[in-house]
Symmetry: C2
Subunit: 225 residues, 2 copies
């Protein structure tokens, strides 16, 4: 596609993640993308709404490449992939110092009620995200308890990450996300069958802040045998 288009998309993505969709004017986008005037912009996009949709698309693609892709790595143990994915979410947030939050969560909170077009597109984003996690859980099924509900667990993972990113943004403190990410890993580990020991990366072991290595308790609840 035209170079200009992606230039506009990039500028818009930045502005929208900083100020939200409603508070980003097309004049701002024009300035950010260094276009010559309004007509130049409307040559590439038929409306601001249309621009918003494409920005959302691009941001999901970006997230799919840099985040979700990890969930499909064929050479790594599925449950370890899940941990790596959580780390990737933390890493992506770190790039902006956690200041901009999730592009999906932000748009969702801003527009889910008021704008049906955005709502269904964001719903689709969450659904595709959830479905990637579900297939990973399906793949990991031999290692998991029989009663693990993949639909629910995938939702829980997404919700806690989205909530964590939001709190991180409000508190301007990345350690909020880091702590929740570590706890989320423990929650996932809770679903692993007895006897299965999860592989952990060296650099993940100290993800927690508690002194006596919470990570060790990751080898599952207990019972049965």
């Amino acid at each position: 596609m035209s170079d200009r288009r992606t230039q506009i998309l990039d500028a818009a993505a930045t502005l929208i993640s900083e100020r939200g969709f409603t508070s980003t004017s097309v004049d701002d986008v024009i300035k950010g993308a260094k276009l010559s005037g309004k007509s130049h912009f409307y040559h590439y996009f038929k409306s601001k709404e249309e621009l918003g949709y494409e920005v959302l698309n691009r941001q999901f693609e970006r997230f799919a490449e840099r985040g979700l892709a990890i969930l499909r790595e064929p050479m790594i143990d599925p449950l370890e992939r899940l941990n790596l994915f959580i780390d990737a979410v933390v890493a992506l947030q770190s790039e902006s110092g956690g200041r901009h939050g999730s592009p999906f969560g932000n748009l969702a909170a801003e527009l889910a009620d008021a704008h049906e077009g955005f709502r269904v597109r964001i719903e689709a984003v969450f659904e595709r995200w959830a479905s990637q996690i579900r297939s990973l859980l399906w793949e990991a099924r031999p290692q998991l308890h029989d009663d693990v509900d993949a639909v629910r667990l995938s939702r829980f993972i997404i919700a806690s990450l989205e909530g964590a990113v939001l709190m991180t943004r409000v508190k301007r403190d990345l350690s909020v996300l880091e702590g929740i990410a570590a706890d989320l890993k423990r929650f996932i580990a809770m679903h692993v069958r007895d006897g299965t020991v999860m592989q952990l990366h060296r650099n993940l072991e100290d993800a927690g802040s508690s002194p006596h290595g919470i990570a060790r308790s990751m080898s599952v609840p207990s019972m049965a045998g």
Copy 2:
């Protein structure tokens, strides 16, 4: 205070939770509160921003009365109080069919980056919320593992609830929140010392959707008993 003021506050709260702060005009609020004109509104509030702050205050007070109050009930076991609180969050969302999400999360996503005044106020809301959970966890400390980090656990609870409420709004499906609430209870139960059996209300037992009563596995990690 004047009846009119609360009338305005109520109308504004509704509109803001439906459309967000930016997309709610003071003319809309005037119409909603059936005021006679702009000057009438500006007689009670010096600016739209000021109105927003007071709406946020009121909404936190409401939440404190109807939600957080449960965390302080003196006659109930602390960990059971925590479960009841989670149920209360679900119940509060059910009132609107989950359509409006969290007033704090919504404002946070919309304004945390752009408007420092709102950001610090929302941060304070989360902090007060977290501190209530922390004191409850302190009270429950004899029942909890030694290595439970109250700061982290309280953040995790808030984040997963906020994320759940957001997803519920996007999917327009209350069962998303219900499932996450049930999973969150299981996560909390994971921190309870072996040998301690959590009391559960009858009406909480089937909070999950999985056929083989996940609720039963709430009796903590394991054995004992």
